[in-house]
Every structure is written in structure tokens, then in C-alpha cells.
């Protein structure tokens, strides 16, 4: 018995030295069955399923990796989950029907989009208090923040704008009109650009954050896939800014975009109705949530290949990876 476990240990360390990636925990929110699936990024296996509040969608890690923040839309709250014990610890006030949010790079506060009230709510995650409410356009959804934390961008789905908000004053400083139903905002790490996906417009606008002009609209085309099915939602950009991944919703594809030329280089076939994306911290993998097929696809970033799909709960929506 002891011998055997020693042997396993030796084998495990041997494998570990071959693939030096460390194991991260991947948290997936499942909109329909009110759970969060936890996946080990090394074994690419489900290790836990956590019962959470109603209609879990937006999900993000605290800066120290100890907590998972989760929009429990039907609870009108942000739930805070212990990333080690998987217990729901407490709820943060969030305003009604929270869907997506973004954490300030310092770890506090949290900026929450309240779709029903045309507001962005600023929440102090330590004192569990609402600090401010910023009126924005109709159906606020996408939330992005500049790496220096000075500018937050919210997209409003019916107003069709990216609202640039000064985080010091919580005031809108500019509005950029984009195409129909903007869903997601993602800053590049150098803070130069922000990518805004337009689900119904079918494209991604790249906005220069200094001039706040759209410098490029990335369009998509997949042979054999109807144009109206190409609906960009989640966007993630690699740390060096060289690659952007765009989830194309009912087209069941993730587009790989060159971050310098803004040209689409590849379309990866994933599961059905792909919504959100998250990199592992080492950028070895990017995970996509596939709502209709109830799974996540694991994409090898170096090869740009889908290496595995993993079953989740029902209607997986958001995904985040612990540092």
C-alpha cells in the first residue's frame, strides 16, 4: 500500500516535470441549474459542483485568489464564495439583477452592471457597501477596466454605446457609439485599446482609449455559417496584446484575432452557443463556456486547438480562473 502510493507519487512528479503547468482552479457559472462547476486545469476534470444562488452569470476572482465573486441575478446580489472550501460566505449588495461586473485592479471596488435599472453600481467589497450609482444607457452589460484602474468602460445593450467612466469621480467622461447590442468590454494590458463586442451588430469595435475613436471594426465570416449567427459576446486579449479571442455565440466558434493587424486568423469549433472566455494565468489554455451543449471547451493557446470539452452544469455562462 505504502509502496504503491510512493510509486504514484513518483509517477506524478515525473509527469509534473514533463508538463510544468501548475494546476489552476477554473470556476464556471451554470445559469440554469444554479451551480458553479470547479475544474482542475491540469487534469482537465471536474473536481466540485457548488450550489449557489439563482441564475448565476458573471463570475470573477478576488485579487488574492481567495474569493470568487458571482452575480446571482435572481437573488439581486453578488455572492462571495470561498475558493478553497467552496462555501458561499456572504452576499454583497449589488443593485437589482446583476449580470456582469469588473473588479478594480487594486482588488476593490467592484463595478456591477444592473441591466434593469440602467445603472452601474460601485460596490466596496471589504465594507460590503454600495459606494455610488452611475446612470448609464439602457440595459448596461459589458464591464471593462483599464489596467491602471482609472477608466471603467460599461456597454449598454439598447443604447448601443460604450460609456467611459472616470473611476475617481464616477462620472461619464465620454460615450462611443458602437454597433447593436454591445455585450463585453476588454482592455488590452497596455491600456491602449478597449475591445467592444456587438452581439447583434456582429462585429468587435477596437477603440483607442486616448482619442476614444473606433480604429477598427473586426468583422467575422465563416463559410457555411449564416451571417446572423455570428454573434460576438465574450472577448479576451493575451497579456502581450498579440492575440484576441472572441466567442461567437450561436456560430459555435471562437475567433482568434491578431492583436496587431486586427485580422481574424482562425476560427475554432467549440460547443454550442459559446458565451464567455477565460485564460489560465499562464495563458496555456483559454476556456470557453458553451451554453447549449452544457460544456466548456479547452483551447490550447499556443497551438490554437481545442484539446478537450468538459461537461458542466446546465447552461454554463461565465468562467474565471484562480491565480
Amino acid at each position: 500500500m505504502i509502496k504503491q502510493s510512493l510509486f504514484s507519487f513518483a509517477l506524478a512528479s515525473l509527469i509534473a516535470s514533463v508538463t510544468p503547468a501548475s494546476a489552476y482552479k477554473v470556476f464556471v457559472s451554470n445559469e440554469k441549474d444554479n451551480t458553479v462547476t470547479v475544474i482542475d486545469s491540469d487534469k482537465l476534470e471536474v473536481v466540485e459542483t457548488i450550489k449557489v444562488g439563482g441564475r448565476p452569470r458573471g463570475i470573477a476572482m478576488s485579487k488574492d485568489g481567495k474569493h470568487v465573486y458571482l452575480c446571482a441575478s435572481e437573488n439581486d446580489a453578488v455572492q462571495v464564495i470561498d475558493a478553497a472550501t467552496y462555501k458561499v460566505l456572504y452576499e454583497l449588495p449589488s443593485g437589482p439583477d446583476p449580470e456582469l461586473f469588473v473588479l478594480h485592479p487594486s482588488g476593490n471596488p467592484l463595478y456591477v452592471a444592473n441591466e434593469d435599472d440602467n445603472l452601474v453600481t460601485v460596490v466596496d467589497v471589504i465594507n460590503k457597501k454600495v459606494l455610488a450609482e452611475v446612470p448609464v444607457g439602457v440595459e448596461p452589460e459589458g464591464m471593462g477596466i483599464s489596467p491602471d484602474g482609472k477608466i471603467m468602460v460599461n456597454t449598454s445593450e439598447t443604447t448601443n454605446m460604450a460609456h467611459f467612466i472616470d473611476t475617481a469621480t464616477n462620472e461619464i467622461i465620454d460615450n462611443v457609439l458602437v454597433d447593436s447590442r454591445p455585450r463585453f468590454a476588454e482592455f488590452t494590458q497596455d491600456g491602449k485599446y478597449v475591445y467592444i463586442s456587438a452581439e447583434i451588430g456582429g462585429n468587435v469595435s477596437v477603440i483607442d482609449t486616448k482619442t476614444r475613436q473606433i480604429i477598427k471594426k473586426i468583422e467575422f465570416e465563416v463559410p457555411g455559417v449564416a451571417k446572423e449567427a455570428l454573434q460576438p459576446v465574450g472577448v479576451r486579449v493575451s497579456k502581450d496584446g498579440k492575440k484576441a479571442y472572441v466567442a461567437l455565440g450561436p456560430a459555435n466558434r471562437v475567433a482568434v484575432v491578431n492583436g496587431e493587424t486586427f485580422k481574424v486568423e482562425k476560427y475554432l469549433l467549440v460547443g454550442q452557443r459559446v458565451w464567455q472566455l477565460a485564460f489560465t494565468p499562464d495563458e496555456k489554455y483559454i476556456f470557453s463556456t458553451n451554453g447549449v451543449s452544457n460544456d466548456v471547451s479547452v483551447i490550447d493557446v499556443k497551438e490554437d486547438k481545442v484539446v478537450k470539452s468538459i461537461k458542466t452544469g446546465k447552461l454554463p455562462w461565465g468562467v474565471t480562473v484562480a491565480p
Binding site: D97, E115, D116, N118, G137, V138, E139, S156, E157, T158, T159, N160, M161, H163, I172, N175, L177, S180, R181, E199, I200, G201, G202, A226, K227, E228, A229, Q231, P250
Partner: protein
Amino acid sequence: MFNGDYPRRGLAIALIASVTGFSGMATVEAQTPPAAMTRIGIGYLKQAVIKPLPLSRLDNPLEDDGLAGARLALEDNNTSGKFLKQEFVLKEVLVPADGDAAAAVKSLVAEGFMMIVLDAPAATVLQVSDAVKDTDAVLFNVGAPDTDLREEKCRANVLHTLPSRDMLADGLAQYFIWKKWTKWFLVYGALPDDVLNADAIRRAAKRFGAKIVTEKEYKEAGGARRTDSGHEQIQAQMPVFTQDASEHDVLVVADENEVFGPYVPYRNWSPRPVAGTSGLTPSSWHPAHEQWGATQYQNRFYKLAKRGVRAIDYHAWLAVRSIGEAATRVKSADAKALRQYLKGSDFSLAAFKGQKLTYRPWNGQLRHTIVVGDRHIPVSWSPQPGFLHQVTPLDTLGVDQPESKCRF
């Protein structure tokens, strides 16, 4: 039916008239926007139609049918408009059944309300269209499903935000085909709307390869809704009326005014599903629809109107939001510029249907997906998988460009 797309303007308007005490026309005064804002004036004309009340009180017309949708869209437009210094103003005008809608719209246009939402019967739409044809005014038809308004009688200054009868029939028919229900028993009412509805069903059968095995007309034109001990009679009547039909997969009812249609389900002779204007019904909208962001829309509407969204509200919302979307994109209040953009190829609207909605350039009809549902919940959305089209699958619903008789 769940307050679908067929017109449902009953006595309620006459009631509003008596409550507010107007004799010719009632208007809700528009507010003047603050200076430095660009003002976009939207007129909303609702004409009363005198009809008996529907059989189910759940379908009774409401005072704010349609208007509530326009009011919500106005709020949405103004929330967006404040970022562009645009202010949208809505002026509501109620006209009795025998009132002069054309004159009312003419004076709206003279006051600068160039974007006009019309909730009125087809004949009124045509009169109004003629009355303002020499201006840049744009009319949005939100109440008349008549196919000929988009065809032989189409007008260059009219956009239609509600689907035509043909689009609805095609949406329902595609679902039947998907279910392999290809043998239909058609039962239709005696009113002119029902005759048109039955025509649309026959056209859909031919188009998608189904067969109408038996047809039957329900000859009574309606009477008092509330009678004591009515149900025994109905329970005896309906099985007999639906007897003697050839073997069929589904019974299709065409009764837009609820004279008998709601009595058919569960009482028909053969144990077959009922669809059409009762039972499984096609519509542009369902009050229980929650997909594609519709939850937020329903919640917003509930806050304003304290009820669910009906199809007529959605059509009015689409009209006012179309105006807002055009004003946002052209950054102007100029009617000519708005009209050009609305009718151009760049226009599209996100409207909780999982894909953009656009106007057909050849006849001004807004493309729709069609929800097929029972009273309670949506069952499916058409176009169904496999119905393909070289331009967009949405053009498998209704009269397509090559067959269109519309010439502006």
C-alpha cells in the same frame, strides 16, 4: 390566443373617450425640451374600432394597449438621447372610430411631429398615407396585419412593425411541417378578417407542402359574450360543428375576433391539437418570452405599465425604437435624413429576438422571427431549422421579394 398580432382594439377606446370626455380628439400635451437639445417629435395616433368584446376577459382591450410600448421606447430613446443631446417627445392622439385620422395626422405633421405611429385599421393607414404623402413624414403601421398593405396597396411612406397575416401563417406552418403535421382541418369565421386569415393559412399550406383536408365556415358573426348557462350549449355545439372532417393532424382556426375560436380546443370532435387564432398561436411576441435579453425588457415594461408586454405594445415599441435608433445613427432630427436611414440598408434594430431586425427594402415590412406558443408559454420560434433562403431565413416568412406586387 395570447394577445397575438391580430388587431384587438375593442370598446376600450370608446371607454377612454368617455372617461377623458373628449368628443373629437384627445391629446396628451408634449413637453418642450430644454434648449440646446435636438427635438425629435413622434406622434402616436390610435383609432378606436367598434367590435364585440372578446370571449375571454383575459383578452379584453386595455386603455394603454400599444401606448405603453411607445412610452417605454420613449424612455429608452431619451436615456440614450441624453448622451447625444437628443430629446424625443411623444404626442398621443386618440381618434374615435368615425373620427378623421387623416386630419389629425396632418395637424401633427404641421406641428413638427414627423414620425407617426399608427394604431388603426388598414383603411385608415391608407387615408393617412395619402394625406401626408407630400411631406417627409414616416408612418409606422403597428396595428394592421393586412397583407395587401404590404403588397398591391403598399406605400413608400409606411413602415410596418407588425408582421403580416402571411408571415404569421408561415411561421405557424413551418412548425407544423417540423412536427410532420401535414394534414390540416381549417375552420374559419364569417368576418372579413377571418376570410383573409384563412387565405393566409391556405397559402402557407401550399407553400410548405401541407394539405387542407377539410374546410368549414362558422357562420355566426358573434353576440353577447356573457350568458348564463352558456357552456352546456357550447359543449354540445363544438363537437358537432367539428364532426365529419377527414382525418387530420391539426385543426386550424381562423377567428381573429374571438367569435367562436376559443371554444374549439378540447371540444373538437377528434382529439387533435388546435392552432391558429386559438390554441397554438403564431405571434411576433409572447408575454412570457424571456430569451435574448427579453427579461430586462419585460421588467422595464412591467415597472411602467404594471402588466406583461402584449404584441401591440411590442410593435409600438419597435416603431419608436426604430426612430430612436435612426436618430442615434444619423445624429440628426431631420425627417428626411431619418427617413432615408430607416429605409436604407444600414438600419437594424436589436429587439430581443437573438438576431437583428431589418426592414424589407421592397415593401417596408420589418422582418420578424415568429413565436409559436400557447397562452402560457412559447413553444417554438420560426423560421424552423432547415427552411433556407439565399438572403436571410427570415424571408421564408411572408411574401418574398420575387413574388412581391409592391411597387413604390
